[in-house]
Symmetry: C2
Subunit: 144 residues, 2 copies
DNA sequence: GTATCTGCAAATGTTTTGCACTCCA
DNA sequence: TGGAGTGCAAAACATTTGCAGATAC
């Protein structure tokens, strides 16, 4: 994992969203901002717990939902559970049908010129999602 | 609701997928094939129950999952639950952030020229989803 | 001190499974 | 009579909430 955001940057990001900085929020922000495979709430909790950082599932939940409201992260509905994506530059997603992990894909369809209204429905965002097997699950398949 | 598929057509569709025709399967297929707002399993069950057609939730579940395996319907992960779309011509979806209902949108991005491989991941489908408020929820908002 | 933050434990709601019963070839 | 179809009741999960105690400003 490439550490794109260090503690100082994360503190500034949270402050930029008027979110008070707490140790728990830093922990969660660090994971979500630096993760390539957008983790679920459960996975964030597991990652932190395994690395000795104590936090409850509920707190991860509260923090992620707060980040979501603030606009720091976006919810991605994957195979079985929601995953969360730090929402910085426009991009698409690849969802693995087997493991459910979500990978970023460079945006190929411009996000700027989608219709703002379709049949009386007001459109505020557009998502492009690719589905298939990730490289890891592809290899697992070959082994069988 | 425009009745696009009558019983005979549905029987043929099921047979085309080598699915044995039973009264329950006909009921579910009729709903899912002729629905504009792609219903959830629960909604299909409710629609049938309210119209006096007896079927259990489990059977709707079994049938939808069988249709999904066969390729008749596709799962759409909406707001809180999965919805199911009879998968006939390529199109996009509009998901209402408020009520979670899913509406069809004429495909604007061609489904044919997406990459078959991205960074070792094999791509087999592409979905374009618009998010916003449907016309009904738009109106509800105005009333407040 | 008081509002915020945290987290246990329980509730909720959807999805899934186990198993027994029914039905028809 | 046996395999497929059905459905009740319960399990399995992810998600969400209530509430009480801890923390920080």
């Amino acid at each position: 994992m490439i550490e794109l955001y260090d503690k100082d940057k994360i503190v500034n990001i949270l402050k930029g969203y008027s979110i008070r900085v707490t140790p728990n929020r830093l922990k969660v922000a660090e994971i979500i901002l630096n993760s390539e495979v957008h983790p679920s709430i459960d996975e964030i909790h597991t990652i932190l717990t395994k690395s000795g950082k104590n936090i409850s599932f509920t707190s991860v939940y509260n923090i992620i939902k707060m980040f979501q409201s603030a606009g720091i992260v976006k919810e991605i509905k994957s195979k079985d559970r929601s995953r969360y994506d730090a929402n910085l530059k426009p991009h698409s997603h690849f969802i693995c049908k087997n493991c459910g992990r979500v990978f970023d894909v460079d945006m190929e369809i411009t996000n700027s010129n989608f219709p703002t209204s379709i049949n009386g429905m007001s459109v505020d965002s557009l998502e492009v999602t690719y589905y298939g097997l990730c490289s890891e699950c592809n290899n697992d398949n070959k082994d069988n």
